[in-house]
C-alpha cells in the first residue's frame, strides 16, 4: 500500500471574519490583541477602521471584509486584532492590524489540503487563492495587492 507523503508543514492561522475565513502564515503575525477603542483617521478609506496603540507604535487596523466591498461588522465585541509584521519593502515600524470576529485558530498545512476552485472564490484581487480545510473554504489574501492599496 502506498502511503501519500505530505509535504513540509506550514503553520498557519485560521482567521474568522464576518462571512468568510482567512488563512495566513503564522509567521506573518506578530501578536493577537483584544480590540480597544480605535482612534479614527479622518478622510481615510472605508476599510481603515482606525488606529490602535500597540507597544510604542500606532498601528492602523483594517477590515478585510470592507476591503472586499462587504459591510464592516457592526460590533468588535468578542473579536481580536491580528497585528501583522510590516509588508515586504516597508519600514520596520509599519505594522498593520486586521480585525477578526473571534480568536484565530492554528492550522498545520501540508500539500494534502485541496485548493478552492477559482469559481468559488470571491471575485476580488485581494484574494490570491484558497484552501479547503475540513470542507470549509479558507481564503488566502494577496499581500501584494493589499500593499498596493495600503501604500499607493
Amino acid at each position: 500500500m502506498k502511503v501519500r507523503r505530505a509535504g513540509p508543514r506550514l503553520h498557519a492561522l485560521e482567521v474568522p471574519l464576518a462571512g468568510m475565513t482567512l488563512l495566513v502564515p503564522s509567521a506573518s503575525v506578530a501578536e493577537v490583541v483584544n480590540p480597544s477603542d480605535l482612534t479614527a483617521v479622518p478622510f481615510s478609506e472605508p476599510w481603515l477602521l482606525g488606529v490602535v496603540g500597540w507597544r510604542t507604535l500606532a498601528v492602523p487596523v483594517v477590515s478585510f471584509e470592507a476591503l472586499l466591498g462587504a459591510p464592516v461588522p457592526a460590533s468588535h465585541a468578542g473579536g481580536k486584532i491580528l497585528i501583522f509584521y510590516p509588508m515586504s519593502g516597508r519600514k520596520e515600524w509599519e505594522f498593520y492590524g486586521v480585525l477578526a470576529t473571534a480568536e484565530p485558530r492554528p492550522q498545520a498545512l501540508d500539500a494534502s489540503q485541496p485548493t478552492v476552485p477559482e469559481a468559488e472564490l470571491p471575485n476580488s484581487s485581494y484574494i490570491a487563492s484558497g484552501l479547503k480545510i475540513g470542507g470549509q473554504p479558507m481564503l488566502i489574501p494577496d499581500l501584494e495587492t493589499m500593499k498596493q492599496a495600503f501604500y499607493p
Partner: protein, 139 residues
C-alpha cells in the same frame, strides 16, 4: 488641540501662532467656511472651525485659533481647547495612514503619541495647511 471632542497634536516643529478669539475678526455671517480672520497689516488670514472628523463646522464655542505658517499665506483653525505639551513628556512615533492621501501635500497625519493602547494622531503641518487652504471662503 481639541476639535469637536477629538484630540490632535501639532508638532512644535511647525511654525504656528496661537491667537485669542478677541484678537480676531469673527465672521458674523452664518454663510461661508471661514469662522474668523486674523488681520496682520494689510493681510487677513482665514481660520476654519472643524469637527472631530475635520469637516467644516460652524459653532461659537471656541476661544483660540491656531494659525499655521504656510505659503502663500497663513491659515488657521479654531480649537475648543489648546494645550502646550512639554516635549519631554511626549514621545511621537512615526505613523503612515493607509490608503490614498487626502491632500496634495500628502496624508494629514505623520505620527502618533501612543499611551497604552490609545493613539493620538499628530498632524502633518504641510498637509493640514494644504487641506485648510483648499477649503476656501465659500460654503
Amino acid at each position: 488641540m481639541q476639535l469637536g471632542g477629538a484630540i490632535y497634536l501639532l508638532p512644535s516643529t511647525a511654525g504656528f501662532t496661537i491667537e485669542q478669539r478677541e484678537n480676531l475678526i469673527t465672521n458674523k455671517s452664518p454663510e461661508g467656511n471661514v469662522v474668523a480672520w486674523r488681520s496682520v497689516r494689510s493681510s487677513r488670514f482665514p481660520a476654519y472651525c472643524l469637527d472631530a472628523n475635520l469637516r467644516v463646522a460652524r459653532h461659537q464655542q471656541w476661544h483660540r485659533a491656531v494659525f499655521l505658517d504656510a505659503k502663500p499665506q497663513a491659515v488657521g483653525l479654531v480649537a475648543d481647547e489648546v494645550q502646550l505639551l512639554p516635549r519631554a513628556e511626549t514621545v511621537i512615533s512615526p505613523f503612515t495612514p493607509l490608503g490614498l492621501p487626502p491632500t496634495r501635500a500628502g496624508h494629514l497625519f505623520s505620527g502618533a503619541w501612543v499611551t497604552g493602547n490609545r493613539a493620538i494622531l499628530v498632524f502633518n503641518p504641510a498637509a493640514l495647511a494644504s487641506y485648510l487652504q483648499a477649503l476656501g471662503e465659500a460654503t
